[in-house]
Symmetry: C2
Subunit: 625 residues, 2 copies
């Protein structure tokens, strides 16, 4: 055991001050360090080995802090550890990666206004500002960034790979329900939206309207483009906010007989809604989604399908995203316009807010009637079809981020991680050719073993980055497992496992066992994240709370607060006016009538927490994104 | 051998007349038929067995005709066979499937104007009108249909599955080249398009312009929606016709050092160009595509990448679509605006027209300069990056259709077929429970064997359709192999193979060998289609032709003609003005300078076929879609 005398220095941009000279125990025997003085810019005077040592310490310290937090330690207990961590990091200022960027960043203001925040490698802790933490996690994991188009984001490769994994798996689940994929036009004639007034009311007003089909040079300045006045459309076109209108128009043509039913189609598409306040993944003007649309001969057929699909979403969130959800029905006032019943999965984010993560609508005959889609039954009678629609969006990525990530950045469940394992080889010394060869052989064999087992693995052999910078980068990107392997490890026939969350210690693993162990432990890690999230959801949902208690807890609850007031599961007498009053007073909405507790009739013998009348169901209230 | 006395009747919509009473030999011992008189509507008086027999005959006759045509038989030889086929078909008029539609089609004008053509099951032969044939094939295979949005199509499940198979395979090939997927916004600020004047000139004028972000009720009629005048955008937004402008705007932020290069990204997206004349898959206002964009530190890097990607496309077309292409460079006047070199793959359709099926552009520094994207080299010098872009679209599906399909409908290469095998079980007689059980057991085992081998198989057990109607439907959908299996087959431990094209005879196959044989023969069938297409391309490309000969061949060559004049590979002296003259006189364009013949310097010692000057390359001329 070593005792460290630490002083600290943090960038000025961080708006809090760390006291100097805090003494703290350092219990990792692997980190053979004696003493540092906290001099800014010391990194440049350090040898590579010394730097690697400090980087190791930083990692260990971070792990300790996370373990403490996970074990429920309070702020006061954690604080000195955090200070020590910041102090360690200060030894390496300016860090290697940003330095490179500074060197090449001589092009002046070319990068535009948000240059500073792009280069800054600081993640705001959740406790400081949960909303900023969320943005920081996305930026530093390079999942997405803002775009020059208002309210739309650019999904970068790391975010896109996650979406592709999600889509691939969800697509299989959907096709498994005998649904076929189609593709309908992006643009919908405006007249279509007037067909179903109720539908329009609920959806389509804030949307992008295409009025012209050509650009031309402006009369005063031909190099300046304008919409050509001579190319105005007779009927404007709308960019789809959702595709019910155009799809049901086809259903009318496609469906004549009961033999055409059920008809189940789905499309993966981009849609656009003119949102005023946007947040990456959670709410953007353009987003990616799947929209399923089905038609059935019977009310039961539609109802069963709507229930089945919300179940598909629930299973997906649990299996793939390690994200527990509360499944239930929406109250009448929160239903999709035109739906007889809306089913929802609601997830609890780490700030205690709810996130509606997927919905499935039992449309009854409303669209069948509105779009005149009828079928002839085997007894020759003709009647309107019953319908459903259901969808999930890129929002699921936001939900996943806010379920698992921590103050060190993104945390990815293995099943949705573009790379499940990153291997960082520690190069042999320059003249050690034999060591280099053996390292390469062991590395190749390890990669082969992992790839054969279907593990998505990345070898980070960039020669211009220090190991610590690599660790830092992959940690922020949420890669579940890092494997370090150097000449000394190879001599001992081992490599070193370090998990992003979960096990706090590094672990030495025999090379011959490594690939199997990875597979086994990736599964355990996935379970661990799910269990953690389940515990948080259970712990964050209050029962037996009075309305006044809820109100006082929610009165100052904002998205930026962490941890927030959480969710409230209460006995309820269904009443839209009371729901509206609660919304006004608490900003909380009725998220759903959860299925499980209502199936158990937990409300029986209880009184509505708001009206005092006999409760007829359990309701989940909470703030929501 | 049987002699058939035939009379014929064809629907009035078919605009040619078949003489009655032609005598013709019928050589299939399997079809145990004696004699029919060609009475309209006879089908309703036939027993099921009789109907099945006629259906079998129709199939056999169709196969004979295709075999004759494939063997190069002339029209006169084929004609009586066609007449016999039509006569056979007439026995079953009205056919089972359309009859059902007529029964339930009592809803009057509900289906809209093109009701008739939707229900009509006639495919116009290529020789009658190639363009109509193409539309008929698409309609009757249910790949796509027109939409209420001008110029946009609805891709139906069969077409969408093909696109998904195509996308999945192409995506792997692209990622194999170290390209990462991203997603950029659909809408692009109008000002972006003015940044690269040359780029705008080539591309962006005919595009959809978004000018408003809200709908509202019209002042005179609040139930009628209009674009809200209060919600006009300060700067209009363009629906991407291609994404260079917005992607290079990000490149400027993402690239600073040579370490950031090469940067290779791709996106799968919908794009929109306001096309005046559209054809499904070949040219639609909205279409689906992938667009790859790369940045490099050197001119060679960009140039190699552009060449490599056109090679990826060429291999894909050959491997997956069984479609040979001619790879080459575009002439300067046909280059992508801003490109230093445009590489293209050109395919020959069955009417002899060319179809540009994919392009790859070496952009040099033009976009690096236009968008101020620079990088710092290791020697600290700063210079603009070099770029490429490359893409393929849903047009590839149109190319595939027109390469393989025939007068019986779609023909799909197995690798791109949503279903590679359709099994049509012939049910046991009503009281034959043992037969039914054995049939089910054999069927299940066959399906299991095929599925285990990765074969995409469909069992068509619809009980309300006759076998013949099923055969007819899957033939039109282009499924490579049909397997028939009935109680008698099961007793003999066999099933019956019938290929969509290729082998003309039905073949009895031992059940235990069937799955392996399917796998082996699907590969052979894929090769067969590719060989056929190669032979057609070779046969359809003329060498050693004078300009006057070409002109006289092309003067009446229209898309609707089959087979058309084909392509012309000629010695050429590069000259844009002459190219333009040829375009005016022949409507033919210079498709490319084909790589292989130019690598061989086939032009050496020859004179330009137009100017008579010494040729400096070989050029491919032709009409093009």
């Amino acid at each position: 055991m070593f005792m460290l005398q630490l002083t600290s220095r943090i960038p000025l941009a961080r708006s809090f001050i760390i006291p100097r000279g805090i003494s703290i125990s350092q219990s990792r025997p692997k980190c053979q360090i004696t003493r540092f003085s906290g001099v800014s810019g010391l990194a440049s005077q350090l040898t590579n080995d010394e730097v690697a040592q400090i980087e190791g310490q930083i990692k260990s310290k971070g792990d300790e802090i996370r373990a403490l937090k996970d074990s429920g330690a309070d702020k006061a207990t954690v604080k000195p550890f955090v200070e020590e961590l910041l102090s360690l990091k200060a030894k390496l200022e300016p860090p290697a990666e940003p330095k490179k960027k500074q060197e090449v960043g001589k092009k002046g203001g070319k990068k535009g206004g948000n240059n500073k925040s792009d280069d800054d490698d600081y993640i705001t802790p959740r406790e400081t500002d949960y909303s900023t933490w969320y943005s920081d996690v996305i930026r530093h994991s390079a999942m997405a960034e803002s775009s020059p188009t208002r309210g739309a984001m650019i999904i970068k490769p790391w975010g896109m790979s996650i979406w592709e994994l999600l889509r691939e798996d969800m697509d299989k689940r959907i096709k498994n329900e005998d649904v076929e994929n189609c593709y309908f036009p992006l643009l919908i004639p405006m007249s279509f939206l007037t067909k179903e007034a109720e539908h329009v009311e609920g959806f389509a007003k804030e949307c992008a309207v295409v009025t012209h089909h050509r650009l031309t040079g402006s009369p005063d300045d031909p190099t300046n483009l304008i919409a050509d006045p001579a190319a105005e459309l007779e009927e404007p076109l709308i960019i789809r906010p959702t595709s019910e209108t155009i799809i049901w128009n086809s259903f009318r043509k496609w469906i004549t007989s009961h033999r055409d039913l059920p008809l189940k189609i789905n499309q993966w598409a981009n849609v656009l809604r003119w949102e005023l306040r946007t947040r990456p993944f959670l709410r953007t003007s353009e987003f990616l989604w799947q929209e399923g649309h089905t038609a059935h001969a019977t009310a039961e057929g539609a109802s069963e399908d709507a229930v089945k699909m919300i179940g598909v979403y629930e299973d997906f969130c649990s299996d793939m995203l390690a994200m527990p959800t509360i499944t239930g029905k929406k109250s009448p006032s929160e239903r999709f316009a035109g739906a007889e019943e809306t089913y929802t999965i609601e997830a609890m984010m780490q700030n205690g807010w709810c996130l509606q993560s997927g919905t499935s609508h039992d449309l009854g005959q409303s669209f069948g009637k509105a779009f005149d889609v009828t079928f002839q039954a085997s007894d020759s009678s003709i009647s309107p079809v019953y319908g459903t629609s259901w969808g999930v969006t890129t929002r699921l990525i936001g939900a996943m981020i806010m379920t698992h990530s921590d103050d060190s950045g993104l945390v990815l469940p293995p099943k949705i991680a573009p790379k499940q394992v990153v291997i960082v080889p520690i190069p042999a010394k320059k003249n050690d050719e034999e060591g280099a060869e053996k390292l390469k052989a062991s590395l190749d064999s390890l990669v082969k073993g992992l790839t054969e087992r279907g593990v998505r693995v990345k070898v980070d052999d960039r020669d211009y980055l220090r190991n610590g910078a690599k660790y830092f980068e992959w940690e922020r990107k949420g890669v579940p497992l890092r494997i370090e392997i150097g000449p000394r490890d190879v001599k001992n026939d081992v490599c070193v496992f370090k998990w992003r969350k979960w096990k706090e210690d590094k672990e030495s693993v025999r090379l011959e066992d490594a690939a199997d162990k990875v597979v086994e432990e990736l599964e355990q890690y996935q379970e661990y994240l799910l269990d953690n999230a389940r515990a948080r959801l259970a712990g964050g949902t209050r029962l037996d709370v009075t309305y006044d208690e809820m109100k006082s807890l929610l009165v100052n609850d904002e998205a930026s607060q962490y941890p927030g007031a959480g969710l409230f599961l209460v006995p309820w007498k269904c009443d839209a006016a009371n729901e509206e009053k609660i919304k006004e007073e608490c900003k909380a909405t009725l998220r759903c009538y959860p299925k499980d507790v209502n199936d158990m009739k937990m409300f029986e013998g209880k009184k509505c927490f708001f009206s005092g009348e006999p409760a007829d169901r359990m309701a989940l209230f909470g703030r929501a994104f």
